[in-house]
């Protein structure tokens, strides 16, 4: 979610990466009732799987992330979205762990989603793609792990929507998660967050180029709508103080306001740039599907409305991390997860990192996050025989 200046030429660069066809014999049973199969899951791996197959870390990306945790990104040429966290000698040390990240179901970087061809019609899925949930995403990832022959993950982790997936992973497959690290997330999407997502979707659907989701066949792209969705969302990833510190009321390449609607202020110019860069790498329909999946997420609802029931009897070791200035998934939401875990006396650590960088802090250089997570992982690794502290 950082600035990604790219050229149109970059979008034509050939996408590289791994992918696998899944669900040909046993289709994926989606929450909406549809059986999906076969489908494609695009993924990347970093590091080496050990002989015991016990050092796998599944990293789950957020709304607009993808499988390219470490760069260069094949479309933008930029560093990966979690380059700070994953790599040799990093917190998720690829000299030690085998890191896997798959493009989410409904995504637009090679995994089956509205942009891909519907085998039944030979046309892009568009809105014929079934509506998916966080649980569906996790089921698809579990099928990938089966394909890779990995029974248990040493760790499942992610921030934001990735954190929701980590929670769902433990709820759905507790015995497959030795540790779970949900970061800056929530066990359910709040009314405010559903409202914010709806603004983004309406911006896309109000774009005349959206064409009921059939824009690909018409050779157009609802860029304006998608860019506005991104701009609105991007504000929620920052904090008031970070915006103030970065931009204040500074003007963009001018000494006076122009009494017009050009981007007079630096903050306007910055947001326009964010919107523009985003449309060059992301699909508008994917944005609709994935935000919907996040809206539908309410883990407790599957367990009689009691979140603690989702974790009853679970032996997974948790490390929950929140950020003081995150108002999208505030500490209170993260603490609700911790309380539910405490209610079943689960093994949980919880750290609130002091940062003024807002929700996006989980993607950025936050030494407190790295250090605490490193300690947590080392402790867990020592306990499960993955090396000493």
């Amino acid at each position: 979610m950082t600035a990604m200046p790219e050229s149109h030429a970059a979008a034509e660069r050939v996408q590289t990466g791994l992918s696998v066809e899944l669900g040909r014999e046993t289709p994926l049973q989606l929450d909406c009732g549809v059986s999906l199969g076969p489908f494609t899951l695009a993924y990347q791996t970093y590091g080496t799987l050990n002989e015991e197959r016990s050092n796998a870390v599944l990293v789950c990306h957020a709304l607009t992330g993808d499988q390219f945790v470490v760069g260069p990104h094949p479309l933008t040429g930029r560093p990966g979205w979690w380059e700070q966290m994953v790599g040799p000698g990093k917190t998720f040390d690829t000299d030690r762990y085998f890191v896997i990240c798959s493009n989410t179901l409904g995504g637009c970087m090679g995994t089956s989603g509205p942009k891909e061809i519907n085998p039944a019609t030979g046309r892009p899925w568009g809105l014929d793609f079934p509506v998916i949930t966080i649980r569906d995403m996790v089921k698809a990832q579990a099928m990938l792990l089966d394909h890779l022959g990995i029974e248990q993950l040493f760790c499942v982790s992610g921030g934001s929507m990735g954190g929701m997936q980590a929670l769902q992973w433990v709820a759905s497959y507790p015995e497959r998660c030795y540790t779970a690290v949900p970061i800056a997330c929530a066990a359910k999407h709040s009314a405010q967050n559903i409202a914010l997502n709806e603004v983004g979707r309406q911006a896309i659907m109000a774009d005349p180029d959206w064409r009921e989701g059939r824009y690909q066949e018409d050779g157009v792209n609802p860029e304006g709508g998608l860019a506005v969705a991104r701009m609105a969302a991007h504000i929620t990833y920052l904090s008031e103080s970070a915006l103030q510190r970065k931009f204040g009321r500074a003007l963009q390449d001018r000494s006076n306001v122009t009494y017009g609607f050009d981007a007079d202020f630096q903050v306007e110019s910055y947001l326009r740039h964010q919107g523009q860069a985003f449309v060059e790498r992301f699909d508008a329909n994917s944005y609709l599907y994935i935000t919907r999946a996040i809206d539908y997420f309410d883990l407790a609802a599957d367990y009689d409305g009691v979140l603690a029931n989702a974790f009853r009897g679970v032996e997974t070791r948790f490390c929950v991390i929140s950020f003081t200035s995150d108002w999208l998934y505030p500490t209170s939401e993260n603490r609700a997860i911790v309380r539910a875990l405490a209610a079943v006396a689960a093994n949980v650590s919880f750290v609130e990192v002091v940062s003024d960088k807002g929700h996006d802090a989980f993607l950025l250089d936050e030494p407190d996050m790295f250090e605490t997570l490193r300690g947590f992982l080392s402790g867990a690794a020592a306990r499960c025989g993955l090396g000493s502290l």
Partner: protein
């Protein structure tokens, strides 16, 4: 002089009350340390007693330090967050030097014995003879040992003596399985009843509590 919880300043591996607590704990048990500071006790118990330990700590720096050591610790407040835990979730719940900083000691003591089968409570003894002498001769509140913190600076809001604590346990029908005091030279002695001698010479005391009164 020992008028307060010595949490951060004395969190060394050799803290005498930590040694005593470690002796009380059965190997391999499940334990919750409330007010665990930087996790020194939990680390000692994990290393020497193979304890499955958890911690609650109110200060974020303490939590971060604990998690960095590979311990399972959450940021939280003993006065509000113990309610989240189910009954008998732990073999032991430890409250080490934290009681005098708590607003509702009665409520917290009862919570300890709800969520733990046993509780281990260590307290600094305000009834130590040096404190008594200080108050008698100077007419001023003794500063917290080692810290030099004055009455308006200390986190201690409810200083108590060994006798006070024993009387409170009687009132709450809490059984005391073992009572031990540590004097200023680090010598450890068991005592009984309200511990007249202990209440004069003990700098701190460690109690093993159970919900069944003896």
């Amino acid at each position: 002089m020992n008028a307060g919880p010595q949490r951060r300043d004395m969190r060394q591996s050799a803290r005498p009350d930590h040694r005593l607590i470690a002796e009380l704990v059965e190997p391999g048990s499940r334990l919750l340390d409330i007010g665990c500071g930087d996790g020194a006790l939990l680390e000692l118990l994990a290393r020497e007693k193979n304890v499955d330990g958890r911690g609650i700590e109110i200060s974020q720096e303490g939590v971060n330090a604990s998690v960095r050591r590979g311990l399972s610790v959450i940021q939280g407040d003993a006065e509000t967050d113990l309610a989240d835990y189910p009954d008998a979730a732990f073999d032991y719940v430890v409250l080490s030097q934290t009681l005098p900083a708590i607003r509702d000691p009665k409520g917290v003591l009862l919570e300890l014995l709800r969520i733990g089968r046993s509780a281990i409570v260590s307290i600094p003894n305000f009834g130590h003879w040096r404190n008594r002498l200080h108050l008698l001769t100077r007419g001023r509140m003794p500063a917290r040992a080692g810290s030099g913190e004055l009455w308006y600076e200390t986190p201690v809001i409810r200083p108590c003596t060994i006798k006070d604590f024993v009387m409170l346990c009687r009132e709450l029908d809490i059984g005391i399985e073992r009572r031990t005091q540590v004097d200023s030279r680090g010598r450890v002695r068991h005592f009984s009843g309200t511990g007249r001698f202990a209440n004069l010479f003990g700098e701190q005391a460690v109690f093993l509590l159970s919900s069944e009164r003896r």
